[in-house]
């Protein structure tokens, strides 16, 4: 009897416990297995938060590490319309204060404040100092969000080459657009833990947050040189009022572009004032008739083929010569017999045409091609023009006498710099380049772009001979005395080309004045081209308009580079000793 009672009790307890265990297990199964994702997400939302870190867009530096394009910290100011005081009078006062402090149109701001959205933008990209002033007013409902905007600390310096970005920091023009993929930053999203008070316990690896930043771009440009060039170009434009002007300087031994300036230009920090015409890099996209600057190229080719020597004499027909039933003149000069060197020195059209005739069409064509005309230089900027250079089968009877004097052929300024770079570099033509290296700011890994030999345009003796002739251009009896630099031998050539307007070179009085040269002539530190398109105050000769600017730029740059003088010069001078 007693034994049965115990057994019943034990069994009852057992069944009861099993039932409880069953329901507990089922509940646990439900929590741990069936509803796990849902409950886990629910719990996770309470102690975790999702945070996004935006990297910094890569900076652009000059060759020596001077910053040309960087990022400035700023704030976006937003207004939560539910938290903003509802009293119309107070709200009106807030609108008045914000529109005045943040320079936002009052009506636009009032319109935004009437929106049905919960939050509206008051002003984006506000300077931190200004944002701090607004924040100090402690206006309820205003939210300040950290942001960055692209900033160009040197304002208009190199603006056309650098280009600019959109408000969302994407490159749209110039190097900013071309290197956008490398310069652009990435976003890093991470789930971070929060404590019970909601404070973030985000243990984010600082290396990770830096790793999402863009790479830094180092250019071949030298900021001080770029500044000298821009200042002098501006001065030239103020004096001669050309429609536009440009100057390009490059190292002939490496092809590195040291400066690239143009006028008019723009300030990328003030985008409201930018007009599309100002964006263009005229130095690569504009073509112009090079005029007499082309003579050196044609004559160098003739010297290289051995059809003439520097001392070969040509009859320059006293300034007027009929060829192909058309007259060719030596604008205002009556030259008689001139050697090839003198033809370069005095810039005789007739003499150059006769040298070209001696060279012949196919070889002249080959010479121009070898100097890179008719093809892009590959400098690394978009919209580069190959110029206008017809194939030899399309040349007419006059082409052989007109192309060598820079008529009927159109080139870009960078093509001219590349060609003269070859003359300066003993015939070796280097590929022009703007970018020196791309550096990862975190790891320090760098991709470098070394100098690249494009081709040998002429052999060294021919290059040497033409350089000697070009030195006479800036000496007594030459066309560009004003391009001379005291203490240095300058090799160069003036160019005064009539513009082709409505199929005519004459009658409109519009010219392109240019000067291109290199200093010191026999061991050049740089080759520099200065072009004034349509100078308009009555003077239009390359030797008058562009040569003085060349001289002033060259003088400053030679001092900056500490290039010792190559020729003795007299007079008082403050002396800098180069050790």
């Amino acid at each position: 009897m007693n034994h049965t009672v115990y057994v019943v009790r034990i069994l009852t307890s057992y069944v009861g416990m099993c039932t409880v265990a069953f329901f507990l297990t089922r509940h646990l199964y439900s929590i741990q297995i069936t509803k796990h994702p849902e409950l886990y997400a629910k719990a996770a939302s309470k102690y975790t938060a999702r945070k996004t870190w935006s990297g910094t867009r890569g900076s652009i530096f000059d060759r020596r590490g001077n910053l040309l394009a960087g990022n400035i910290e700023c704030k976006n100011i937003l207004a939560d319309l539910h938290l903003l005081p509802r009293d119309p009078k107070i709200r009106e006062e807030i609108i008045a204060y914000l529109s005045e402090t943040l320079s936002v149109d009052r009506d636009i701001l009032a319109f935004r404040m009437r929106s049905h959205a919960r939050e509206v933008v008051v002003r984006n990209y506000v300077d931190i100092d200004v944002a701090a002033i607004v924040a100090a007013r402690r206006i309820a409902g205003l939210r300040f969000v950290d942001d960055q905007r692209r900033y160009y600390p040197k304002d208009a310096l190199l603006a056309n080459v650098l280009g600019f970005t959109t408000s969302r920091n994407r490159g749209v023009y110039g190097l900013e657009a071309i290197w956008d993929k490398d310069l652009a930053s990435k976003d890093l999203e991470q789930i971070i833990e929060r404590d019970r008070r909601g404070r973030s316990l985000g243990k984010v690896d600082p290396v990770k947050t830096r790793a999402i930043s863009g790479k830094s771009l180092y250019l071949t440009i030298e900021e001080p040189i770029q500044h000298y060039v821009e200042v002098e170009l501006r001065a030239m434009c103020e004096e001669f009022k050309p429609k536009r002007a440009y100057a390009i300087m490059a190292d002939p031994r490496t092809g590195a572009v040291m400066a690239m300036a143009q006028y008019p230009t723009f300030n990328p920090n003030d985008r409201r004032a930018i007009e599309p015409e100002m964006w263009r890099v005229h130095g690569i996209s504009d073509v112009y008739d090079p005029g007499s600057t082309m003579k050196c190229v044609a004559i160098a080719g003739a010297l290289d083929y051995g059809v003439v020597s520097p001392d070969t004499v040509f009859d320059c027909e006293d300034g007027m010569w009929m060829y192909g039933r058309r007259s060719l003149r030596d604008s205002g000069h009556k030259f008689g017999l001139l050697t090839v060197s003198e033809i370069v020195q005095k810039s005789s059209n007739i003499g150059t045409a006769k040298v070209a005739l001696q060279l012949g069409k196919p070889r002249l064509f080959q010479v121009f091609r070898r100097f890179g005309f008719g093809e892009t230089t590959g400098i690394g900027l978009r919209h580069e023009s190959p110029g206008i250079f017809r194939k030899v089968r399309d040349w007419d009877g006059l082409s052989i006498t007109r192309f060598p004097i820079g008529q009927g052929i159109s080139v870009t300024p960078v093509q001219m710099v590349q060609a003269y770079g070859a003359l300066a570099n003993r015939g070796k033509m280097m590929k022009l380049r703007l970018v020196e290296r791309l550096v990862d700011p975190v790891t320090g890994d760098a991709i470098t772009f070394p100098p690249e030999l494009k081709r040998v345009a002429v052999r060294p003796p021919a290059a040497q001979a033409i350089v000697e002739a070009m030195c006479r251009v800036t000496a007594e009896g030459g066309t560009a005395l004003k391009a001379a630099v005291e203490g240095y031998q300058v090799a160069g050539k003036t160019g005064t080309a009539q513009k082709l307007i409505n199929g005519s070179y004459t009658g409109h009085g519009k010219y392109v004045a240019s000067f291109i040269g290199f200093v010191p002539a026999h061991d050049p530190a740089f080759v520099l081209l200065v072009v004034a398109d349509e100078p308009s105050n009555g003077r239009y000769y390359g030797g008058t308009v562009a040569a003085p600017t060349f001289s002033r730029i060259a003088d400053q740059v030679l001092h900056y580079l500490s290039v010792p003088p190559t020729v003795a010069s007299g007079g008082e001078a403050d002396v800098i000793v180069r050790r």
Binding site: T56, N66, L67, G70, N71, I72, E73, I128, D146, Y151, P153, K154, D155, L157, E193, D195, R199, S200, L201, G202, K203, V204, P206, E223, P224, H227, Y228, E230, V231, V485, E486, G487, S551, R552, D555, Q556, L558, H559, S562, V563, P564, P565, A568, S569, G570, G571, E572, A573, D574, V575, I576, V577, R578, R579
Partner: protein, 127 residues
């Protein structure tokens, strides 16, 4: 009522009677105390470590925020420095003091070693 439970201790003739000594309970209490102490200690330790972890996380976050703010300030200062170092700015400032770039030929560079520096200057000036 008769005892139905089986007898645990049986006296065997000729053998010494065996009876286990009654336990004092000290060992059990000691073990229980140690276990309890360990449990309480673990619980307190866990709470303490949790609090420390949160404190450390908060401190880390604060430091990270400060670092970020300093980095931003440094970047802005760098931008300011570069703006002030720009050629146009320096030129503008120099003009206020009536300073201007050298005239062409006013400054001349000579190539000389340290020893011959003075004589080179003298030679050039005497030209």
């Amino acid at each position: 009522m008769a005892n139905t439970y089986p007898r645990l201790f049986v006296t065997v003739p000729g053998k010494r009677r065996y009876r286990p000594r009654p336990s004092s309970g000290l060992g059990t209490k000691l073990v229980g105390f140690i276990v309890l102490t360990m449990l309480v200690g673990s619980a307190i330790g866990k709470i303490y470590l949790d609090r420390q972890s949160i404190k450390m996380g908060t401190t880390w976050q604060e430091l990270h925020d400060k670092l970020t703010a300093l980095e931003k300030e440094a970047e802005n200062l760098r931008i300011d420095q570069e703006r002030l170092m720009s050629g146009d700015h320096i030129l503008g400032e120099a003009r206020k003091f009536d300073l201007r770039p050298s005239e062409p030929g006013q400054v001349r560079i000579i190539n000389a070693g340290v020893a011959s520096q003075d004589s080179a200057i003298v030679a050039l000036r005497s030209q």
